[in-house]
Amino acid sequence: MGRFLAGRLAATLPVMGIVAVIVFLLLRLAPGDPAAILAGDAASPEQIAAIRANLGLDKPILTQFLSWSGRLLQGDLGSSIISNQPVAKLIFERIEPTLALATTTIVFAVIVAVPLGVLAAWWHGTWIDRAIMAVSVLGFSVPVFVLGYLLIFGFAMQLRFLPVQGYVSITEGIWPFLSRLILPTLTLSVIYVALIARTTRSSVLEVLGEDYIRTARAKGIGESQVLWRHALRNAAVPVVSVIGLGIALLISGVVVTESVFNLPGLGRLTVDAVLAHDYPVIQGVILLFSALYVVVNLAIDLSYLLFDPRIRY
């Protein structure tokens, strides 16, 4: 157990290191003078020089990296080119809506997708299976923002029973908070539901073909027992693992969904930074999301211990 934990942690550090190197190199390897790119077309030489000094671009690349990563380790993500505010502060101000949306989405998606996938596997080859799988392929194919606008159009504009856009903190009441998250959550969940449902189905199908399922049937226990006791727990690991890998999809979706629904979260921060060419902010958000992805997947690796007694170290 201890060794498993240590091994996983040790595998995590190089990944984070590589993420940092990639993010660092992106700016430095960009064609042309990075300071000029960031300053934009209308910038004066003084502005460009200021940006160069701000990012330390005039020093040797190794020095840049060492001082940059040194500051990174102290939690200093640099400051915005536009507002000169520290990136960490900007992120902290915007993190609440994003966390709220991501949480509701994960919870909703898992609650919906896992039963759908199990159902499809159980009725393998019937119309139930085909219908669930058809909906799931469809879910993979509709662009998130198109779906968002359709939902806004249907539920908020025509039927008028949900607020169209915006965000209210949970501190101002549960219903105002939730009602504004319902449509974004639905929008963001679709692709995630599709992913989890597909994986659940194929994982359960795989397990249903195993020898120990035949053993269970040979015991004369009911089919529902076969499913609940013997199949589901064995099918759990790939499902849990895809929930973690899907975080990457979720993060991409968050950026889009927040723009569509006007939620003042990290996604909006990113889009605004893109339009303003505010690279330090983009870089900070990437680092944060990547770290989140790595940490979530570390937690998920550890959760395998709950599902499979064979994993020990």
Binding site: R3, A6, A10, E210, D211, Y212, R214, T215, A216, R217, A218, K219, G220, I221, G222, Q225, R229, H230, R233, N234, F307, D308, P309, R310
Partner: protein, 543 residues
């Protein structure tokens, strides 16, 4: 006939059972018009080669046929009740209580995420009338003790992966016995186990059956097992019953030609008289102090090192066949793969001719590759499915500079040598049976004109009748080509037949070696003795 309970009502009686195969299969029916019965306290062995329908028979009785297979005719009476017509609820009630099954693969037949005690207890829960939790717990412990598992209380809390193969099969048997079934179906229950474990499991089954008055339908491909355990024997071929009778009758006076052929094909556990051998000269292959350790080099150095080979030394004379015998985990395959340099040895020497190739880097190894060739265990995976037989055979010679025409001519000659039609050269592997593919693999190895041929369990995956043909082929070509063979096998009977000398391995070491006949006559090491005692022997006319 002394034990025959023919007077009593049979527990299982199958009459006229036919199970059609889906369209497009190689024959119309998996089972055709099969009739057999199992009496109480009787062990009936169903014997046959792969594709004989013996496993389908077992599944049909349990009502566990895979989708697509449905019996079209016949009755399967379990104590007078037809399991083909009773309906799903009643069938479930019968399964696990009146009939129970032990499967072939103990490694995969138990649920990996449930404790073994709970898996046995489930059998009791599923069929009511087995009292409260505490009663069930005690019953589970009794069952584990019945199958002679050590320390039942802690074993009940173990997960399957913590047990050995033999222990898992004992758990399966305990599970099958839980509700005192009248019929136990055992589908190749010892095939996946080492011989010494197999002998123990057979003994256990026999002992339990005698105590409990249950009938056993025992599916096997191995006449050695049959002769150890059966009261009556049913021989199947391509879905039909070809012969049935008491074990003595069938083994000593087989009437059907197929049965006779099968029994004749079973290798005897006594070696034939030794071949005349020239005086030992300079060995063609010498292995000295060969060692292979795995692991122990992880990032934190914490990984446990496993020694798969521990200072193994041996020598192979020109024209000699040296058998390497051992159970799983003995290191015999690692030895073969180290000598062929598919695995890099950790230390030691491998001399072929005069040169030591044990630690040569891959680049410098190429000139020596040609001199050691290997025939692999699985005939279905040892030929590239996308390349014709001819392409596979000429690849090696052409790598070493032979022209395409010369290589092709050699391939034609070799196919003839292994008794295959030369038209085979332009066909793809999937058009051939397992035995034919093994011949092709032998031809491919010989095309390199190697100094040493390594056969790694090369006949283990084959049915006995095919196995015999391939062994005969090997006997024939080693005489003709004066071939030196390193023959790796777990099967003493096969080793006895083919090898001039034997090396017995245990835990990565050689524990005993000697001329085959001498070793069989007088095994000295305790492990060798145990191995010989456990090997399933045909007891024929001697009774």
């Amino acid at each position: 006939m002394i034990r025959s309970p023919a007077m009593k009502e049979p527990v299982l009686s199958i009459t006229g059972l036919t199970v059609p195969l889906p369209l497009g299969a190689d024959r119309a029916n998996a089972i055709e018009g099969l009739s057999l019965s199992v009496g109480p306290n009787e062990i009936v062995c169903v014997v046959g080669e792969s594709g004989s329908g013996k496993s389908v028979t077992a599944s049909a009785v349990m009502g566990l046929l895979p989708p697509g297979l449905t019996p079209s005719a016949g009755r399967i009476l379990l104590q007078g009740e037809d399991v083909l017509t009773v309906g799903p609820a009643r069938l479930r009630a019968l399964r696990g209580s009146r009939m129970a099954m032990v499967f072939q693969e103990p490694m995969t037949a138990l649920n990996p995420v449930l404790k073994v005690g709970d898996q046995i207890a489930e059998m009791l829960e599923a069929h009511s009338g087995r009292g409260d939790r505490e009663t069930r717990r005690r019953r589970v412990l009794d069952l584990l003790a019945d199958v002679h598992l050590p320390d039942p209380p802690s074993l009940a809390k173990a997960y399957p992966h913590q047990l050995s193969g033999g222990q898992r099969q004992r758990v399966m048997i305990a599970m099958a016995l839980a509700n005192d079934p009248s019929l136990i179906i055992a589908d190749e229950p010892t095939t996946a186990l080492d011989v010494t474990t197999q002998a123990q499991i057979l003994k256990l089954l026999k002992e339990l059956q005698a105590r409990r008055n249950a009938g056993i339908l025992f599916i096997t491909h191995d006449f050695g097992v049959v002769s150890q355990i059966a009261d009556r024997v049913v021989v199947m071929q391509k879905g039909r019953l070809v012969e049935e009778g008491s074990v003595e009758d069938v083994l000593t006076r087989p009437r059907d030609p197929y049965t006779r052929m099968l029994i004749a094909a079973v290798p005897r556990a006594e070696p034939p008289p030794p071949r005349p051998r020239p005086q030992p000269s300079a060995p063609i292959l010498t292995v000295r102090d060969l060692t292979k350790t795995y692991g122990g080099r992880g990032l934190f150095g914490g990984g446990r090192a496993v020694t798969a080979l521990d200072s193994v030394s041996l020598a192979l004379q020109p024209g000699e066949t040296l058998g390497i015998v051992g159970e799983s985990g003995s290191g015999k395959s690692t030895l073969a793969r180290c000598v062929a340099r598919f695995v890099d040895p950790s230390a030691g020497h491998i001399r072929i001719g005069g040169d030591d190739i044990a630690l040569l880097p891959t680049r410098e190894l190429r000139p020596y590759r040609r001199r050691i060739q290997m025939v692999f265990q699985d005939p279905y995976r040892s030929l590239n499915p996308r390349r014709t037989v001819g392409q596979s055979i000429i690849e090696g010679p052409m790598n070493y500079g032979l022209s395409k025409d010369a290589a092709w001519a050699r391939a034609t000659r070799l196919l003839d040598l292994v008794h295959l039609d030369t038209g085979a050269l332009d066909r793809y592997p999937h058009e051939f049976s397992g035995g034919q593919r093994q011949r092709i693999a032998i031809a491919r190895a010989l095309a390199m004109e190697p100094d040493v041929l390594i056969a790694d369990e090369a006949v283990s995956a084959l049915d006995v009748s095919v196995q015999r043909q391939v062994l005969e082929l090997l006997e024939d070509i080693r005489e003709r080509l004066n071939l030196s063979i390193l023959f790796i096998t777990h099967d003493l009977r096969v080793a006895a037949r083919l090898c001039d000398r034997l090396v017995v391995m245990l835990g990565g070491r050689i524990v005993e070696e000697g001329a085959t006949a001498a070793l069989f006559a007088n095994p000295r090491h305790a492990y060798t003795q145990a191995l010989f005692a456990a090997a399933p022997k045909l007891r024929l006319a001697q009774e």
